[in-house]
């Protein structure tokens, strides 16, 4: 490889066909005379502008038969000509300089064209250079060189993460790896499972229980996840009514009076609330508003008056924490849009209460397609206030534009899977952790199950990783109509 030119923090390198270089890999430009080395990442591989290539390409198709007889080339010079014609231009971005054994971000110097040597910098060595010691390793797959790609779970602590990519490229897969990695180190994880694909994390592919079986708790709202009003508390119910069910201010005030009235008389129950609204002396419109919300709560089947039927969410969280971590999967797959919002409001409000009172230490929250259930004001809450309480969120989405730009800017780690749509690429290019050119160029060509990792977990050196297969029942695979037909055909063809 030879250094060709440098413009700003972009370096162009000429590479030949027998040199193993691909988009996303790192190179080190070692200028021994200057005593410095530059670390660059290949963000694009193009054909080198070899003089005369157009003439070569134009004359080849002039002969009709591609097998046009052997050339008499006793010195095999043609192979050298073809070698030159296949020369590549590597477009690279500078990521730092190694000087006196230390890494600095200086990219202003020019390595010598003639004296510099350029070679590939394996990810393992790069991580050694940045002193990336890993205390709580989570293996997420392998690097481009085939070496293990390991991130430190402790770097996810207190951080905001985003996993995004188009459909079917492996986002949920990576998210499950992170969930299992975190709970294996005793973390408490809450997952808003929109498609019911996390509920079998405790089972292997063959259906057998795995080491996480006892740590995975699946809660299905309306079935095994119901709460009493007393467990919920007025503040949480008010948030549900106001934010999830859009109860106007006047009606909310009346509801608060009703609640306190019943609470003072130790009569707090769904049935009594209904009766109280009926008897309450207030404007008819307020009464109607309260009734409509009351029936919505009733039909959500999430609240119960039967204490035995209810789940002590607070107790469950504390149990999980005490028993060395675990995942609470909130299966929202069968919930309506409103019911989802009620459940999410309940859980987030509860988490805030518990964390603010130091009843639990911290929670890693995984939110799939959060825009479908997260109210507008929560986004900023999550990245600012809730983070200080100890809610560390990972958003997983295939629609990057549903996450606000401010969230991208504040994200500590971003796991980007493939996107081809220009609009999506433009949205993700706003990620502050790396320049837009790097993001767009690499992400556009990522194959399925490969992701570009940006942020603290990779010490701000963007790294392409292949996500490993997971021996758990994913249930995230899309159900297909024709897969049944294919299965039948396969069965028939296998018959003797």
């Amino acid at each position: 490889m030879r250094l060709y030119k440098k413009t700003g923090n972009t370096i162009h390198i000429i590479s030949f066909p027998d040199e193993d270089v691909e988009k996303g890999c790192y190179l080190i430009i070692d200028d021994k005379r200057a005593g410095r080395s530059m670390i660059v990442q290949v963000i694009d591989v193009q054909f080198a502008n070899v003089p005369g290539i157009m003439e070569e390409l134009l004359r080849e198709p002039l002969i009709d038969d591609p097998v046009k007889g052997d050339d008499i080339d006793p010195f095999d010079i043609t192979s050298h000509i073809l070698y030159v014609q296949d020369a590549r231009l590597l477009v690279c971005k500078v990521h730092g300089t190694i000087e006196d054994g230390g890494l600095c971000s200086d990219s202003s110097w020019l390595p010598s064209r003639t004296h510099s040597t350029i070679c590939r910098l394996p990810i393992g060595r790069l991580m050694d250079i940045v002193n990336a010691s890993i205390r709580y390793p989570i293996s997420i797959g392998e690097t481009m060189e085939g070496t293990p790609m390991v991130i430190d779970a402790s770097i996810l602590d207190g951080k905001l993460n985003i996993i995004t990519g188009r459909k079917g490229v492996g986002k949920s897969h990576l998210s499950k790896i992170l969930v299992l990695g975190l709970i294996s180190y005793g973390a408490t994880v809450v997952v808003f499972d929109l498609n019911g694909e996390y509920k079998n994390l405790g089972l292997n592919l063959d259906g057998e229980r795995n080491e996480f079986y006892e740590k995975v708790h699946v809660l299905v709202p309306g079935e095994n996840f119901k709460v009493t009003l007393a467990q919920t508390g007025l503040s949480v119910v008010m948030k549900i009514l106001v934010h999830a069910l859009n109860l106007p201010g006047t009606s909310a005030r009346e509801f608060r009076h009703i609640w306190r009235f019943l609470e003072e008389r130790n009569m707090l129950s769904l049935h009594e609330i209904g009766e109280a609204i009926r008897r309450w002396q207030c404007n008819q419109q307020v009464k109607d508003a309260l009734f409509s919300r009351y029936y919505t709560l009733l039909h959500a089947n999430f609240f119960t008056d039967n204490v035995n039927e209810s789940v002590n969410f607070e107790g469950l969280l504390q149990n999980v924490e005490r028993s060395g971590g675990g995942a609470i999967i909130i299966d929202l797959s069968n919930s309506s849009s409103v019911d989802r919002q009620i459940v999410v409001e309940y859980i987030l409000a509860k988490l805030q209460d518990l964390l603010s009172q130091w009843k639990i230490r911290a929670v890693f929250l995984f939110a799939e397609e959060a825009h479908l259930y997260l109210r507008e004001t929560y986004w900023d809450d999550i990245v600012t206030r809730m983070r200080h309480f100890g809610i560390f969120t990972t958003f997983i989405t295939n629609q990057p534009d549903t996450i606000k730009e401010s969230i991208y800017r504040q994200a500590d780690n971003i796991f980007l899977f493939n996107f081809v749509n220009e609009h999506d690429l433009e949205v993700i290019s706003r990620a502050a952790k790396v320049d837009a050119e790097t993001t767009v160029s690499i992400v556009r060509d990522l194959p399925p199950h490969h992701c570009l990792i940006l942020g603290d977990v990779v010490r701000n050196f963007p790294i392409v990783a292949k996500v490993k297969p997971l021996n758990v029942r994913a249930m995230g695979e899309t159900r297909l109509f024709f897969s049944r037909e294919k299965g039948l055909e396969a069965a028939q063809s296998s018959r003797p």
């Binding site: 005369g52 004359r59 080339d73 010079i77 050298h80 070698y83």
Partner: protein, 330 residues
């Protein structure tokens, strides 16, 4: 080439000079004197009878300089057309290191294929390069004449040479081999030196619409047998309606009728682009060196012979700066 191992080499990077085609024998201007009107054979009807058309061309290029000389490469191409299907055989590239010390030796070795290469007094190394190209072309012509049969063989240039050179006998031998195998050799010149009343003779057919042929008798030409030996009968041919006219030399050993038949068969069995046979056009294209060819050859010689690439200071550039161009004949 082995004597340059581990030595220094400056790659030649100015591709503007393009590759040099075989120079052959450069004719002086030949005037045509005629008191009679020229006889134009028109129209020239094509004969499509699947006669194979074989075209030969070569080229050479300078690829670098060493302390003692120049490195050049030569390549030849044979293109043949069978039932309108073109095939190509490329011969080379062959790199040569030409120095003042070895140029005589090179010419002597090559003399057996191209006496002109040995007998001529090449004073510049660049001339040796064109002699090498010429030798390769004669060798390919000889091989094709011996291996092809019942074909029309197209050469680039003319069928003439100076009698003081030994090339006459070689050319005669090649033409004889071709005739023995029932081949007809036709040579096409892109730039003819034959003139009539100071104008190029090809201009005489400018106003002709249909394909036609203008026959030039030897007694009409201002040449003596001492200055130039013509081994072909000279015609001016316009091979297509919308195309240029070219000077065409056809083997004199063949009869006039065979000449006509050969030209008509050429028209009938090869595509004619701008009045020029496609097979010969392709042979030129495939023998010509492109810039990437030159870089590939430079890579080969630096790898194979361990040449160290250097850039010697250019006196012209030092003296004249951006005006220090040219100087090929220095």
């Amino acid at each position: 080439m082995n004597e340059i191992k581990e030595r220094f080499f400056q790659p030649w990077i100015e591709f503007n000079g393009q590759s040099i085609e075989r120079s052959g024998e450069q004719e002086d201007t030949v005037e045509v004197y005629s008191r009679d009107a020229f006889s134009i054979i028109s129209p020239l009807e094509p004969i499509p009878d699947n006669t194979p058309i074989v075209a030969i061309d070569t080229s050479s290029i300078k690829v670098g300089e060493t302390e003692s000389g120049v490195i050049c490469a030569v390549r030849g191409a044979v293109v043949w057309n069978e039932r309108r299907q073109y095939r190509c055989l490329r011969i080379g590239p062959f790199p040569f290191h030409i120095t003042e010390d070895n140029k005589r030796e090179i010419l002597r070795v090559l003399g057996q294929y191209s006496p002109i290469a040995y007998s001529s007094n090449a004073s510049f190394l660049i001339e040796v390069q064109s002699r090498l190209c010429n030798a390769l072309e004669r060798w390919i012509q000889m091989m094709v004449s011996r291996s092809a049969s019942n074909s029309i063989i197209l050469w680039d240039g003319t069928l003439s040479c100076r009698p003081q050179n030994d090339c006459v006998s070689l050319l005669l031998r090649i033409l004889e081999d071709a005739r023995r195998n029932s081949n007809a050799v036709i040579s096409l010149s892109k730039a003819s030196t034959v003139k009539f009343l100071g104008r190029r003779i090809t201009d005489l057919l400018m106003k002709q619409r249909e394909p036609c042929l203008l026959e030039i008798d030897e007694h009409m030409l201002s040449i003596s047998s001492k200055s130039l030996r013509l081994l072909g009968k000279i015609y001016v041919a316009k091979l297509s309606e919308k195309g240029y006219a070219f000077r065409v030399d056809v083997d004199r050993g063949l009869s006039r009728d065979v000449h006509m038949m050969a030209l008509r068969r050429l028209m009938g069995n090869d595509s004619v682009f701008q009045g020029y046979p496609e097979a010969l056009r392709l042979a030129h294209i495939f023998s010509t060196f492109t810039a990437s060819d030159v870089i590939g050859i430079q890579r080969f010689i630096s790898r194979k012979y361990g040449l160290k690439v250097v850039t010697w200071p250019s006196i012209r550039k030092a003296l004249f700066g951006p005006f220090g161009t040219g100087g090929a004949g220095d």
